[in-house]
């Protein structure tokens, strides 16, 4: 295949979802308690986009992947320790606040401005990838606004698959209701793809990939442009985590049928 793409993946850091998260009110509005001390991971939805981007680039000679990530430098650095071993990319770092409660329009503006300034980026080959959701707080509009600001009209959300054809057009499978996919045809780049989970397993750690990525990662973090994200009048009435229901009981020698009946009754509630 001769079609090559410039794939830009927008992916920020989020606290490792396995941590104990506790929303609190800080001077600038809602935040997570001790968020800076929690280990961070690449937003899992965006991580799927990154793996899909790398797989697509590997199939199309001449393609290149940029990872544009906005977050505190320390967190970006921490996340790169794990992500950089996965797939090849060039990091474009933006030094900004933790992303859970920022205004999506301000975030999108910072991302779009940074992407537009990437040296050598050919907008005619641009596929803008990201997650259609976030493990931190899904505003649900960030990728769309980035695309709008970059003048990209073809946008797809909840993407699970892209099939590139010989003529450079592609077929995209977007999630719709009932576990089905909507199949769309797109004439070609540029396009925005907000990824769901995709179909790829998390790539194994590849030490050579890590070594190669790291040559660019640390300089990228060191020269990361610092941005302030305006609230634009955004305020939160309240912030809460989804309620956990934990009603542990220890019951011995309970017949399997009875256990099954109880589970069914619980689900039906």
């Amino acid at each position: 295949m001769t079609n090559s793409f410039h794939i830009v993946v927008c992916a920020s850091t989020v606290p490792d979802p396995l941590q104990t998260l506790e929303p609190v009110t800080g001077p600038a509005g809602p935040t997570l308690k001790n968020e800076m001390m929690l280990p961070a991971v690449l937003d899992p939805w965006a991580a799927c986009a990154l793996y899909e981007a790398a797989a697509l680039a590997a199939k199309h000679t001449g393609s290149k992947v940029w990872l544009v990530s906005l977050g505190p430098k320390a967190k970006l650095q921490q996340v790169m320790m794990t992500v950089a071993q996965k797939v090849p990319f060039e990091l474009v770092a933006i030094d900004g606040p933790l992303g859970g409660f920022t205004d999506a329009h301000s975030t999108a503006a910072a991302l779009a401005e940074t992407i537009a300034a990437i040296p050598g980026l050919d907008c005619g080959k641009l596929l803008l990838f990201g997650g259609w959701e976030s493990a931190s707080r899904g505003a649900g509009v960030t990728m769309q606004v980035v695309g709008e600001r970059l003048g990209i009209a073809d946008q797809f959300q909840g993407v699970d698959q892209i099939n590139v054809k010989e003529d450079g057009s592609f077929e995209i499978l977007e999630r719709v209701e009932g576990g089905k996919h909507q199949v769309s045809e797109c004439a070609g780049a540029p396009a925005v793809l907000g990824w769901a989970t995709g179909n790829l397993a998390e790539p194994p750690n590849r030490p050579q990939v890590g070594m190669a990525n790291m040559r660019g990662v640390m300089p990228a973090i060191q020269k990361a442009k610092s941005v302030k994200l305006d609230a634009n009048g955004l305020s939160y009435a309240s912030v809460a985590l989804p309620k956990q229901q934990r009603e542990t009981r220890v019951v011995r020698d309970m017949p399997e049928d009875e256990i099954a009946r109880e589970i069914v009754a619980w689900i039906a509630e």
Partner: protein, 620 residues
């Protein structure tokens, strides 16, 4: 053609990479090593060029098994002398969960339940304490010792979370840009050429539980290095591979172990406990079990116990004991109303200098706990580990500048010499025999500790120390005085049928009350995994816990591996061997030494290999 470990099949597709220094395990020791070396590299880069990649700076890589460098480690009370020498401004470095030690107390905990296995001597002592409690500092079934022995004191020290400290140190290292730390990357073994270590082999990925290739198979890479720095702790796979190949120095063995299990809890809002409060306890839930409570800033506290190998009880169970410990009246008045935030466990190598391996060989050096640096008299390991890392960092810089090869002689003349001249060695010699007495009894153990501590190691109590698997007493013999044959048989039968676990049934039968869960701090073991441990294991790696001889497992009456599995990852199962669930394993390594069976009279019947995943909590 290089000679590699015979246990590893040669595979054509296995890739290879050359670096200058390959490091294994990112803990305090490796933090000390890399901090020191990277400072040397940035202060005098021209002298520290890479030989592996000419024209580039020294290529230094560190592989860590855990998914994050903040994960899978513990908190600590430390004198922090060596750490402060590296970071004079440490206290103001804004590391979360750090506080100066303010108030230290040693508590002898009486048994308020009557289920604890106490000797006649101890019972007489307890009775005397209770009789004269009006004249003694006894409160809530605990005797507050009038002073903290000097060897236990951590005055001017720090309480801190190693997870947070590691995160901070790792950040500083990565920011330097001259060393790379890669979490989520287990290392299966050292690579050998003859008796020289020439690098490490990463674990295979894309394999089934038995290690057979599956879809996405990727043979673990061989990372060849002039120097391999081994800091993978007491149960690390690389350290074990070197011990298997090269053996241990004469008279050295790792027979003494303990599991440290603890919770990080959020204390009630009205807690009177101040950050920096440190309590050391002994006497309960069993006399052999030491415990602790130390308080971080923001109403967080670490509370936990050490269950040692010399507690010969085959039904010992860290989690159950921990729950009884939390509820001891002296602690419960502060812990009641607390919330579990984090939980974890690890094996501690308690042989100290007696378990020291060959610290140096051609192409390798060993640092940290796995190198026998922990001082079991003072209960201090982190600062010693850090110091060994610093000593190696200085030694490596010295050798590189002098153009010396990393031979055994050169490493001994630089690193080992520094270590022998340092407080690490002096402390290790004082502590060497300090705990021997515990192998004959708790009272003799305490006398031995006091003797060694007060005489600077000149005197101690002697004892013959058996391998860990022999320290576990046979089930029937151990319980013969406490349970009837019918009770024992019923507990065993129930466990075999997959009902109540054997250790729970045994503890119940011995009079330990059932734990009444409050859903906040007192929670089931499985809930602790979910609420406090956050255990996870990436797919595509082989099981790292293996049972060597199924026949020995089938005939095993004790099954201490199940009782002492910190994450309930080892369970009864339907087969002859216990079942192992990799996704629950917290990598504490307790199974390695909590197995009564031995196929060779030397090692236990359980192999603990390199594995990915484990705890994710960073509040530790």
């Amino acid at each position: 053609m290089s000679e590699v470990n015979p246990e590893i099949p040669l595979e054509a597709e296995r890739q290879e990479m050359a670096v200058d220094i390959a490091c294994v395990g990112f803990g305090p020791a490796m933090g000390g090593f890399l901090t020191t070396l990277t400072r040397e590299m940035t202060s005098d880069g021209a002298a520290l060029e890479s030989k592996a990649v000419p024209g580039m700076p020294l290529q230094v890589l560190c592989y860590e098994r855990a998914d994050d460098i903040a994960a899978g480690v513990s908190g600590v009370v430390t004198a922090a002398k060596a750490i402060r020498a590296s970071f004079p401004e440490l206290a103001s470095a804004e590391i979360p969960m750090m506080a100066p030690v303010k108030l230290e107390k040693v508590l002898y905990l009486l048994d308020p339940i009557g289920a604890s296995r106490r000797s006649m001597t101890l019972r007489a002592g307890d009775a005397a304490i209770r009789t004269f409690r009006g004249m003694l500092p006894v409160k809530d079934d605990a005797l507050e010792l009038p002073y903290t022995p000097a060897f236990l004191q951590k005055h001017n020290g720090l309480v801190m979370s190693i997870g947070q400290f590691n995160q901070w140190v790792g950040g500083e290292l990565m920011a330097s840009g001259v060393a790379q730390v890669w979490p989520g990357t287990p290392v299966s073994t050292a690579l050998f050429e003859g008796n020289s270590v020439v690098g490490v082999r990463l674990s295979d990925q894309g394999v089934d539980r038995a290690g057979n290739p599956e879809a996405g198979y990727m043979a673990g890479m061989d990372v060849r290095a002039a120097l391999t720095v081994v800091g993978d702790g007491p149960v690390g796979a690389v350290g074990q591979s070197i011990d298997r190949k090269l053996g241990m120095p004469d008279g050295h063995a790792r027979h003494e172990w303990a599991v440290g299990m603890k919770m990080v809890v959020e204390l009630p809002e009205d807690t009177p406990l101040e950050a920096g409060t440190v309590w050391h306890t002994f006497g309960f839930p069993e006399p052999e079990i030491f415990g602790f409570l130390y308080v971080y800033p923001d109403r967080l506290a670490s509370v936990g116990i050490f269950v040692p190998s010399w507690l010969g009880n085959p039904g010992r169970s860290s989690y159950r004991y921990l729950q009884h410990f939390l509820q001891h009246p002296y602690l419960w008045r502060y812990l009641n109303g607390s919330t579990l935030r984090s939980w974890g466990a690890k094996s501690l190598q308690e042989s100290g200098a007696n378990g020291e391996p060959f610290l140096a060989g051609d192409g390798y050096a060993r640092i940290g706990e796995g190198s026998g640096s922990t001082n079991m008299l003072t209960g201090s390991g982190v600062d010693e580990a850090w110091a060994t890392g610093v000593q190696l960092g200085e030694a490596v810089a010295e050798m590189l500048r002098a153009g010396k090869e990393f031979t055994r002689e050169n490493i001994e003349a630089t690193y080992v010499r520094r270590r022998r001249e340092s407080f690490v060695e002096q402390g290790a010699q004082v502590a060497k025999e300090a705990r021997n007495g515990f192998h004959t009894g708790v009272v003799s153990g305490l006398i031995g500790m006091a003797l060694a501590g007060l005489t600077n190691g000149k005197f101690s109590v002697g004892a013959k120390i058996r391998p860990a698997h022999q320290q576990i007493e046979p089930l029937k013999e151990f319980y013969s005085q406490r349970l009837s044959a019918e009770q024992l048989e019923k507990a065993t039968r129930d466990a075999a049928a997959g009902g109540r676990t054997l250790h729970d049934a045994l503890m119940d039968a011995c009079g330990w009350p059932e734990i009444v869960y409050d859903g906040k701090l007192l929670v089931s073991h499985q809930d602790a995994l979910l609420m406090g441990g956050k255990v996870q294991a990436a797919g595509g790696f082989a099981d790292h816990v293996r049972f060597r001889d199924a026949k020995l497992c089938a005939a095993c009456a004790e099954r201490t591996c199940i009782a002492m599995c910190s994450g309930q990852a080892i369970t009864q199962g339907d087969e002859a061997v216990p079942a192992f669930d990799r996704e629950k394993c917290v990598h504490c390594g307790a199974c390695l030494w909590n197995c009564k069976q031995s196929p060779d009279g030397k090692n236990s019947n359980i192999e603990f290999k390199a594995g990915a995943g484990g705890l994710h909590s960073a509040e530790n």
